[in-house]
Homo-oligomer: 236 residues x 2
């Protein structure tokens, strides 16, 4: 079908459009990737892979939104990160050759490419620029993880919620009417911040009373970024 052909993403072009790590590949490498990959679409709610399962490859997101989370001892989710177009997920488990240590679930209908495990070590060997950029990418994630450990360990829930809102603004941006461009349930927000759903609800409505945000269903309108920064950094 024409429609299918149009929508099928070719790595060579796609990687630049969505700013994926694969933009550092040569033409030959891109072609190879394109050849061995499996393009798939997933509906909201689909689970791409589950914590503890063995996976035979990793995913590059072309479109949509995925949440990556770990399940705590009580079955409570801890959201580790979101994956949007250009991001790769599950690469960690593939490289360590370990079972997945997270679960990935679709939040907004997705178009993804599935890439078999082998290709990643191969590309690291064949393309040193790619290798270096991949290392940088992982280092950045590691840096963020370490910062977050410090935050969770030392900041109050109130401070962390403000910080998470700012991070979401930074990662997903605002619409022209200042609405956050990501739609999460209160429970999901709680599972990023590391708190109870009720606490998020209470704090959000506090932020609202303080004129920092406006709420309308799942939409969060950011009114006062400076104010949120103040809460996230200092206070007590």
């Amino acid at each position: 079908m024409v429609q299918n052909q149009e929508s099928f993403p070719f790595c060579e072009n796609c990687a630049f459009q969505i700013n994926a790590i694969f933009r550092h590949l040569s033409k030959d490498e891109s072609d190879r990737l394109n050849f061995i990959k499996a393009f798939r679409t997933f509906k909201k709610g689909t689970i791409l892979y589950k914590e503890g399962s063995r996976i035979s490859g990793f995913y590059c997101i072309n479109k949509g939104l995925i949440k990556v989370y770990k399940t705590g001892p009580d079955g409570k989710e801890q959201i580790i990160r979101f994956a949007k177009p250009g991001d790769i997920i599950a690469y960690r488990s593939v490289l360590s050759n370990e079972p997945a240590c997270t679960t990935a679930k679709v939040l907004e209908d997705c178009r993804v490419c599935f890439l078999p495990s082998d290709i990643l070590p191969q590309l690291i060997s064949s393309n040193s620029v790619f290798a270096l950029e991949l290392v940088k990418l992982i280092c950045q994630e590691l840096g963020e993880a370490n910062s977050y450990i410090t935050d969770i360990a030392q900041k109050t829930v109130r401070e962390r919620l403000a910080e998470v809102l700012l991070k979401l603004v930074n990662d997903f941006g605002l619409t022209e009417n200042k609405t956050l461009r990501i739609s999460l349930t209160r429970e999901e927000l709680a599972n990023i911040v590391g708190t109870a759903t009720e606490s998020v609800i209470r704090l959000l409505s506090e932020f609202k009373s303080d004129g920092l945000i406006e709420l309308s269903g799942r939409k969060i309108i950011i009114l006062d970024i400076k104010g949120l920064e103040k809460i996230s950094n200092f206070s007590h």
Copy 2:
């Protein structure tokens, strides 16, 4: 001096002895590393580098113990990890070409080699096995960081303290009389767990009453590993 020659570690041998990432280098690469590195010793209490500072290279630990920590908004330390012989530190900042995001302080007198920034990307380019192993190493750290985020977010202080003790047993081992082979102040323990010093003290003496550990000054004798595992995983 003879003594100096004996004590000076040659990368080619050293890397295998201490199981450093550099064991994956060729003879030529090892020689080169050996040539450009600066060997140094540091006394307990020395700070190798400070959060926020620019660094021109990274360190490979030959002997001793270093704590790597971030400083929270209130000036409270959050210990991110320890570095022992064979570990490299500060590589993250070197690779991202960013200011250091942690501080490194000597806990036990150290022998370290300082390696200039440039060498790391060079080795990644020239040696794909090394590149892959480096990626795996970083991935492992990332995996641990993500697990710790989940733990801090969801577990109680009691559970985390038990878990930290077990992790220390795992990383540093026990002497013949079951004493933990790492000596930390109560405050440092608190700065790993992410809690107050007083809480660590109270919980440790609780563990002692429960027959899980024995305390004698800074020494912690581990009596009941199974019991600690039980506390760290389940409970509530």
